[in-house]
Amino acid sequence: MATETLHAIDTHAHSHDEHEHHELGFVQKYIFSEDHKTIAKQYLISGIIWAFFGGAMSIIFRLQLGFPNMDLTWLKPVLGQWIVEGKLEKEFYLALVTMHGTIMVFFVLTAGLSGTFSNFLIPLQIGARDMASGFINMLSYWFFFVASVIMFASLFIETGPASGGWVIYPPLSALPQAMPGSGLGMTLWLSSMALFIVSQLMGGINYICTIINLRTRGMSFTKLPLTIWAFFFTAILGLLSFPVLLSAALLLIFDRSFGTSFYLSEIYIGGEALPNVGGSAILYQHLFWFLGHPEVYIVLLPALGITSEIIATNSRKPIFGYRAMIGSLMGITLLAFIVWAHHMFVTGMNPFLGSVFMFLTLIIAVPSAVKAFNYITTLWRGNIIFTPAMLFSIGLVSLFISGGLTGIILGNSALDINLHDTYFVVAHFHLVMGAASFFGLMAGVYHWFPKMFGRIMNKTAGYVHFWFTFVGVYCVFFPMHYIGLAGFPRRYYSFTALGNGRMEAFVDMNMFISIAAIITFTAQAIFTVNFIYSIFKGKRAPQNPWSSNTLEWTTPVVPGHGNWEGEIPAVYRWPYDYSKPGSTTDFIPQNVPYSATLESNFPEENEEIAKEKEIEGLLDIQNSSYNH
């Protein structure tokens, strides 16, 4: 830390910030807050609450799948009339699957992950006082909040929530008479998601604008931590794809409420023809997956960014292939927009078109493999410190690889035609998206908890939580590959009636999965208790508990409004100078100039010294940017 003081002279002379010195009321401070750190915590806590509900739903339908003959009367106090004669209502099973998917993909892993860490880390790691627009940022959270309330309310209506799967394909979702959940439940789903999209767009616009405009002096793009790069590409993905989901949803709303036929044609219900003609249900799938595929990366990229940061810090090694990491993020972002039809191989598309999409899809394996390779080479021969965050990050790499491999299988249209809509797909995306991103979220919470709350989460509980979750996730999702290969379809209430007893052979495996799921879900209580306990009673954190290089650790232990008390530090080097040869410390933070580390500079870095005065000189410009 000695090096830090070298340049810290002269940083307190300025009277920079008017808004730092007046006290805010409770409501402004904790509820309608415009402070990015508070908004991040709001997102995190909302995400955790949603994860609990989403997880609990999966446990209920796992009970049905694993123990089809079980008497569920004891659930009646919670589920009320959805339990009929000790059995789960079939319609409600579908509602549960749909809500589980919606909640996990959008509310937990999009809002809870991106919302938390983009908000928390972008200003802190690029050296900004707050987001470009605190007000829009606040609106973003409250739109999400209202969306959450609507989605939650839809669980309690008489006809039940939306039930057509998280992808809400028409005609099922377009016709209120198609199933109970397609009535009011679907209307609420669409309203909630419209607000959610607006919320994510406001958030994303803020992230992009902040990263581009509010970097501190010297923080060029090539000195940004990989977390920020990941959030940046995530925001771009969202900005370009969420509007398309909104346009798909609007046409669906027209079909539902105004009697148009954008997605409907020649449908008979109960032997009677509906008046709707001329629409195309496949069109909806195109529009949906144009969002849907980028969405899976919106969920994953922040987790990958978090992992890069944590793995480099805790391996005490520079990240391997910094530029390749950025390049592969960029490659994934671009490719994410041109592979959507791999979700539609069985829609009767022209086989030639199918092979084009197959080709594009398989190319994604290249940047994905680059990332996996770089994580492993960063770990290789590092002085690894196994913090809970590090374990979750390594777990993410493992899950990303095992789930990514099945992606390559599914990407081949000839194979996918057999596997589509089976549990093989469920296994694939739960490993690569669900579990991997969840691990990224957990890693991020363990790692940045000290910055959020000034305390450290209990380590031992963290290890126990990790091992239960890691082993549990594999026990839950790995067997699903076999079930899927055997032909188990997704979203079926009961399997045993299928295939003349052939499926009975898999009852045991389903039981095993369900038990593993229950244990894994229960183990999350360890985290919850640790989280809440540590907020109030955890061990107090030092300023830089993980000896990390990035700027957030130069703020006070619990940063106040405006983040830095004096001037924002300038940045002189990339964030990964760990164990640099010649250096006396094993890490050199980004705000330490090369002129202070002559003993460890490479020749080209000595040339940078000349420019450092100019980085300092940018102070006035930087300050003036906070006067608008």
């Binding site: 010297g218 900005l239 346009s247």
Partner: protein, 197 residues
């Protein structure tokens, strides 16, 4: 900090970006997302049209007029910004008022266009998908024009009050960017519909 000094700084680019107005930048990002929505709709239109059984019909002539009206309003918006830059408040007030009136005129002609379609038995729902698409594209654009008119009205009121010149100029510039965008978006939709009936 002098200009020459700035020019000497040979970093990746912080001096440039730090001086960019975040509000303008955010507006551009908003425009991108609106653009993506219309990209979604127009490609949906093409996908559906390619599936065949597509009814072809004439676009009402009146949409040519509405195009002209919106273009004129955009031109006056341009004058308004120039006047605001030169602190020429009387011109500003006139130009921005004309912009607003022509904007309203545009909406009126769009509604007249709809009534022409209705005269030809083409309805939003229940008649023909091609007609539904036409209504949807034009109607959704009109909805954005309404939001543009609201923004325009705010600038209009503030330019009659001109409390803070600098703030006012930024507001008018933001408003102008959005308005020109809506104009260009309409041109795109108009040509798109014209060539893809």
């Amino acid at each position: 900090m002098t200009q020459e000094h700035l020019a000497n700084i040979n970093l990746d680019e912080p001096e440039e970006t730090l001086s960019m107005n975040p509000k303008k930048f955010m507006l551009w990002l908003t425009i991108v997302s609106i653009l993506m929505m219309f990209a979604g709709w127009t490609s949906g239109y093409l996908v559906r049209k390619a599936e065949g059984r597509w009814h072809e019909f004439e676009m009402p002539i009146i949409f040519w007029y509405s195009t002209g009206i919106l273009l004129i309003s955009s031109i006056f918006m341009f004058f308004a910004v120039r006047a605001a830059k030169n602190n020429n408040f009387s011109t500003l007030k006139i130009a921005i008022s004309i912009t607003f009136v022509f904007g309203l005129g545009f909406l009126t002609t769009q509604v007249l266009g709809f009534s022409d379609l209705i005269k030809n038995q083409l309805y939003f729902a229940g008649s023909d998908v091609a007609a539904s698409w036409l209504y949807a594209l034009i109607g959704l654009h009109a909805a954005h024009v309404i939001s543009g008119l609201v923004v325009l009205l705010i600038s209009l009121i503030s330019s009659f009050r001109f409390t803070n010149e600098k703030k006012n100029l930024t507001r008018i510039q933001l408003c102008a960017t959005y308005w020109h965008f809506l104009d260009i978006l309409w041109l795109y939709l108009f040509l798109f519909l014209y060539f893809n009936r």
